[in-house]
Symmetry: D2
Subunit: 256 residues, 4 copies
């Protein structure tokens, strides 16, 4: 009995041939408290997942297949950590109904597994009501097609909601003469600036300013490896959070 804590978690990875999936296979394999029991890719059958004996599954596939994968896992009582995009309100609502019928199973859907990024967004929102001004700068490689980034949009929305709840007015801005675009775009009243630069990967700064002071929260993603500590943290905690959790911050101890 005293050894029970050392029994490894049995983990399967879906999307194992993709770039993120391949990283996850390596990360699970290297984790001392996990055992990789299946690494499935395009063309493999979900029956292989059931046959593998997996207690946990990490879904890093594509929007077209993630919903079927997750539903299969829940129906087989396999806790699930999802990094695939494409979960709109309808899908989330359907999944919650399914989970209500399988009350012991947990699903985590996380748009972002980089711990530093999740923490920076949460801190930025929390701090933003104590400052007159807040703006966001996100910086990415020049092959990115959308501006601003999804993370910047979500961060701005979190900030806007927190400031609205605390009745903080919009950031002051006396600009009367602007070359079009100089002041960035607006997301729920928060200014966001997108830099595209060869050499960069994915970076974000939230700048908060008050009289005589500035608080800067910056996150740098240098490498896809940065998502793996978050994936493993998800696997380690999903069983203790039955039902649906959206966002890795739901598993972080951020009570200050």
């Amino acid at each position: 009995m005293t050894e029970q804590h050392s029994v490894p978690k049995l983990v399967a990875v879906l999307g194992a041939n993709g770039r993120m999936g391949a990283e996850a296979v390596k990360a699970v394999d290297a984790a001392p408290d996990m055992k990789l029991v299946a690494a499935l890719g395009r063309g493999d059958s979900l029956e292989q997942l059931a046959a593998s004996g997996a207690q946990y599954v990490v879904d890093l596939t594509v929007p077209e297949s993630t919903e079927a994968n997750v539903r299969f896992a829940v129906e087989h009582a396999i806790h699930t950590v999802v990094g695939t995009t494409g979960w709109d309100e309808g899908r989330l609502s359907d999944l919650e109904s399914l989970l209500a019928a399988h009350p012991g199973t947990g699903v985590l859907i996380a748009p972002n597994f980089a711990l530093g990024s999740v923490l920076a967004s949460a801190f930025a929102a929390k701090a933003s009501k104590y400052f007159e001004s807040v703006e966001i700068i996100e910086l990415h490689h020049p092959d990115k097609v959308d501006a601003p980034s999804g993370t910047a949009v979500r961060t701005a929305q979190l900030i806007a909601a927190e400031r609205a709840a605390a009745q903080v007015p919009q950031s002051p801005d006396a600009t009367t003469s602007e070359r079009a675009g100089a002041r960035g775009c607006e997301v729920d009243g928060v200014r966001v600036h997108s830099v595209r630069l060869r050499g960069l990967v994915a970076h974000q700064e939230v700048l908060l300013g008050g009289p005589g002071e500035q608080l800067t929260l910056r996150h740098d993603s240098f490498d896809r490896a940065s998502f793996m500590p978050g994936v493993l943290l998800g696997v380690r905690n999903v069983a203790a959070h039955p039902g649906l959790t959206v966002g890795l911050d739901g598993y972080l101890d951020l009570g200050l």
Copy 2:
């Protein structure tokens, strides 16, 4: 009765001729929910404080007089916000005894009133258990006589305590060949680096690193004005926190 919320708080400032005190006099005077009823300096009598009708007092004096000032205020049921240094364990313990006998009165003793700095330290501590590595860089004007700064030492201690509680090992470091001092000093196992540069005021960065990612929490104090929002926040909340509070973070809503 419906107007009751607009009755201004009656506030006195002690140390009104000092640099911080003079800023506080201006800040209280400009606050729409406060009325400055006394601005006392060296040579003024504490009886003037009692006579002023102050409900709140801000003490920005010197280590030699702060204890007598605070005790006088508590004995007269005046809520007190203290920015003066010199409160060692013995003084704090004596003050707690006095407050036990005046249960409705609140005292806030804050080593740092810059909201951004207090937030940055709290965030850094909270985040530090999720990262392999953490180091601190503090940067000040070259007339500062101590290195590292008191704020950096406190931040390092908070981080070290949080990591110890979560059983996070020390930051990795393969250095075997070091020019003396290159790797900074150590505070409870956390490396701290002190930069001194003409033009700077008071700045601090906490760098947190994990595989493929970095989280940076930076605070810049450009001006003494940066302390005033924190002083006013202290005055606004001290009555709701009877007894002794050390550190402005006790008044901040940081639950995430």
Copy 3:
């Protein structure tokens, strides 16, 4: 004769009651190699300048009066350092004609006296032809009415000229989906982003990126005092540069 080098330069300041002018009065007064012989403000006569015996004059007045001031000085063989704006092509051309008739006298017109800012712009231009990507972020207090700043526009123009001469193509950018303004404004093909934040003064970053690397040149102006070393450097060098010089970089030793 051997002491001749220690004879102080006789300096007058025009616009002495303005904020920049008042700083200049203090700076000249404190400089060991200068003697302040006149500090003239609105309402004072230029005859007082002539009577003061000034060899050098610093003009920090307003666009309406700077041209008359400088012409008077040149006609009296007084070397002149100008920080006032409003010198368009016509005025500059007229001044050059006047200087041709007074060949021993020097005039420096500098849009920016912060040495760090002038150096950062010069370095950015020089470096920009070695990198695929370049963007500018300028950050100022929220009371500024124009965006982007004049310094950012000039920096972008310098960079664009240097890259054009070296036949470097425009920075790559795959953006196909943009929320209006996210990618900033364009100045001669260079993207510029303007942040406005309470607590800031005047700051600028030039970001240069190539495969796997980034070079960042950042300048922070915390205080009007930052212009004074440049003003004094101007006074010390203007006599050795007869004729018209535009831009403090003309006096800096930047040959690398």
Copy 4:
């Protein structure tokens, strides 16, 4: 004849199996103006280099073999670009003698091929005489064994030499109470701080400060790919610089 400029340069890479060498093989192969004619590793004979018809060779081997490689190349009139360490004064002097006997051949020995890093060091040295204060922070992954980095030491030496030549006094520092190491180490009177953090690669900041302003020159190496533009620039320019050149900055157009 008019097409002559498009004849590709014939390039060999030595150390092709090492990490840097493998990158160089890819970079030469992808360069439109170059043709890879040999990629030699441990165990291959230098005769293969002679037989390949190479006009240029890139040496990215080990200190034990670089000298023999370069001498062989010079004796065969092959221009050489060297990224291997281990070239002490004695070896350099011997090489110069050899080159004197082969006056048409060029050799570039570069301790650093990252263009941004070379530029940042050159700019920092040039700017440093205009500022009261200068300090260096270098930041690397925690597996690095030496502190400070070789690049930081060289940068500090360049700065110290430039300031000495301009008779600029040491950076001011009023520190009287220091926890050992807080103020970093000293290299020729310049303070250097070494940060070691998981997730980082190789980064350096030079901070320059004067009254009310700061100039920051930062370089980030995210990836070994950052060295390749410098290697190719070396190959493209080495024939036009017969004899020995140490440092890539000798080939850069930095006249300002």
